[in-house]
């Protein structure tokens, strides 16, 4: 006969019994639970706000530096998840985070137009730079970025072993800036660039990993200045092109909006915007990295952003897209 199955509770009980052992097996070797860790541990009474950001802001350490200051000021628990700009915007579009801090003006505009965000504020900038091997095999040093890309394309196609370019290839802000340059240079990105041959390498990784890949392959790549400075020590790459309007890299912060987003979280996200654009924090951003890298990684807007065509002064007060009108 077959056992008839009637008793789920019994089996539940049993599993508890069986895993009792598993717990034992696992726990005998665990390191002791840390007491009083310095990192913020989530506590019940504090509000949590989740910031989705780009790897270049996070990997440089800027946000880790600002986090405790913000948390103390507003008695809040700031959680930061760092992804490429594309992924961060996707997370924000789905309403899975409260604040977005990215650097891709065109993607930001589409995000805002979709009604997913409010209070767009720019808070820092630096420049993208083109880095490459010290001997500059393509001989592009000093060129305009658009011309440099044309040269890289020509030489890379002829001699992929000698000249190659590593792209983020991950829809991040940096990737988006790269595409802008290709467009300005007169190429269609998907047809002329992506399929142009072995010389064009799509990493699909964060900025740090892409730099490391370029370094290993002795290839050129486009990077934000901050991440490059933070990683410089481990890289066999030097800046090749550092000038050109098209290389401007503006970081912005946006309060994520969904119709179900709690008002408290929107208010806290606005606090974060105002925090970033406050003169005190602007000054701190301007100092960040100087000690370690000998140069600031980001330039603050310091209430002077008219030339970037963005807003860096108005307090973030709006709580929904409709309150604009």
């Amino acid at each position: 006969m077959t056992l008839t199955f009637r008793t789920v509770p019994v089996l539940l009980l049993l599993s508890a019994f069986v895993i009792g052992g598993a717990f034992f097996a696992g726990c005998t070797t665990t390191t002791p639970q840390p007491q009083g860790t310095p990192t913020p541990t989530p506590s019940a009474e504090k509000t949590k706000v989740l910031l989705a950001t780009t790897t270049s802001l996070y990997d440089t350490g800027l946000l880790d530096y600002l986090e405790p200051i913000f948390e103390e000021k507003y008695n809040v628990d700031l959680l930061i998840t760092s992804q490429g700009t594309g992924k961060a915007i996707e997370v924000a579009t789905r309403g899975d985070c409260d604040i977005l801090a990215v650097h891709s003006p065109s993607q930001e505009k589409a995000f805002l137009d979709g009604g997913h965000g409010i209070n767009h504020r720019c808070f820092a900038y630096n420049y993208f730079i083109i880095v490459g091997p010290a001997n500059d095999p393509a001989g592009i040093k000093g060129m305009k970025p658009e011309d440099a890309f044309k040269t890289l394309m020509t030489m890379g196609k002829d001699n992929p072993a000698g000249v190659s370019f590593v792209s983020r290839g991950d829809n991040s802000g940096t990737h988006s800036a790269e595409k802008t340059i290709w467009k300005a240079a007169g190429y269609n990105y998907t047809t002329d660039v992506q399929k142009s041959g072995n010389w064009y390498i799509e990493a699909g990784r964060g900025m740090g990993e892409t730099l490391q890949l370029a370094s290993e392959k002795q290839a050129y790549t486009l990077t934000d200045e901050g991440t490059y400075l933070a990683y410089k020590g481990n890289l066999a790459l030097v800046p090749v092109i550092e000038e050109g309007d098209i290389l401007l890299n503006v970081y912005s912060v946006i309060t994520v909006y969904t119709p179900t987003q709690p008002a408290g979280k929107i208010a806290m996200a606005n606090n974060f915007s105002n925090f970033l654009t406050s003169l005190e924090i602007q000054a701190a951003i301007g100092e960040f990295g100087k000690e370690k890298y000998g140069k600031n990684l980001f330039s603050p807007m310091s209430e002077n952003c008219s030339r970037f065509n963005c807003d860096c002064t108005s307090p973030a007060v709006i709580v929904s897209p409709s309150s604009l009108s």
């Binding site: 006969m1 077959t2 056992l3 008839t4 199955f5 009637r6 008793t7 789920v8 019994v10 089996l11 539940l12 009980l13 049993l14 599993s15 508890a16 019994f17 069986v18 895993i19 052992g21 598993a22 717990f23 097996a25 696992g26 726990c27 005998t28 070797t29 665990t30 390191t31 639970q33 840390p34 860790t37 310095p38 990192t39 913020p40 541990t41 989530p42 989740l50 989705a52 790897t55 990997d59 880790d64 959680l79 930061i80 998840t81 992804q83 789905r94 309403g95 899975d96 985070c97 990784r205 964060g206 740090g208 990993e209 490391q212 933070a230 990683y231 020590g233 481990n234 969904t258 179900t260």
Partner: protein
């Protein structure tokens, strides 16, 4: 070479000095993966019992599907749970994406097939004659199931340990669902991925050594259990 040696030396220092961040990440990894293992056991062992003790159409096919899912890629489990837990997903209202709870759900989903399969193997390892003995000794259905599961407890526990090993060593689901938030959802595997990309080799090696140590303890535990 020097980089590697230096990395190991610094890693040793980080571990021996009980670096708070290293400890915290380790503790979180264990907590999340152990919880996932417990929950997965509570679900997988009864399901395994149900499939084993009950005859129904498509049983063979179901078992094949479960066996296929042993190798469920972690990123697919991660993506699946991400879509479900996202605010616009069916369980978005729970607000579990980018939380440790979300990670527990992801790892639970990931290891349930493996643990159901191991439970099935464990139960079919119990001789048919023993099942007859149990029934003829006057057991009710639940007493019989209880006795037989108890009889195969070491084999089932082996499956549980295997599930824990898979949970604590996976990175895909933890990264996608947890978001690698420092002090909140950063676990050993996601921290290793991040620290490596940031060039903090020593920290990565320290975490890697801890992960390896946990894997080793799991393997030894599995061995000891199977000796029974």
């Amino acid at each position: 070479m020097n980089e590697i040696i230096d990395g190991f030396v610094q890693a040793g220092e980080l571990i021996l000095s009980l670096d708070p961040e290293v400890l915290e990440i380790t503790a979180r990894s264990l907590l999340i993966s152990l919880t996932a293992t417990v929950i997965a056991s509570l679900i997988a062992i009864p399901i395994g019992g149900f499939i084993h003790f009950r005859e129904f159409g498509g049983k063979r096919g179901l078992i094949t599907i479960i066996q296929t899912l042993y190798a469920l890629p972690t990123v697919i489990a991660g993506l699946f749970v991400f879509l479900i837990l996202s605010r616009v997903g069916p369980f978005g209202f729970l607000g579990l994406l980018f939380t440790p709870t979300g990670m527990i759900i992801g790892q639970t989903v990931l290891i349930i097939p493996l643990m159901v399969g191991m439970t099935l193997i464990a139960l079919s390892g119990v001789k048919k004659s023993l099942q007859d003995e149990v029934i003829s000794l006057g057991a009710t259905s639940s007493q019989a199931i209880l006795t037989i599961v108890k009889e195969s407890r070491f084999a089932i526990l082996g499956g549980v340990i295997l599930g824990f090993g898979r949970a604590i060593s996976e990175v895909g689901a933890a990264m996608i669902i947890g978001g690698n938030i420092r002090g909140y959802t950063r676990v050993l595997t996601t921290a290793i991925a991040l620290e490596t990309s940031m060039g903090n080799i020593a920290f990565s090696i320290a975490l890697g050594m801890i992960l390896l140590a946990i894997a080793m303890v799991v393997t030894i535990a599995l061995f000891l259990v199977q000796e029974q």
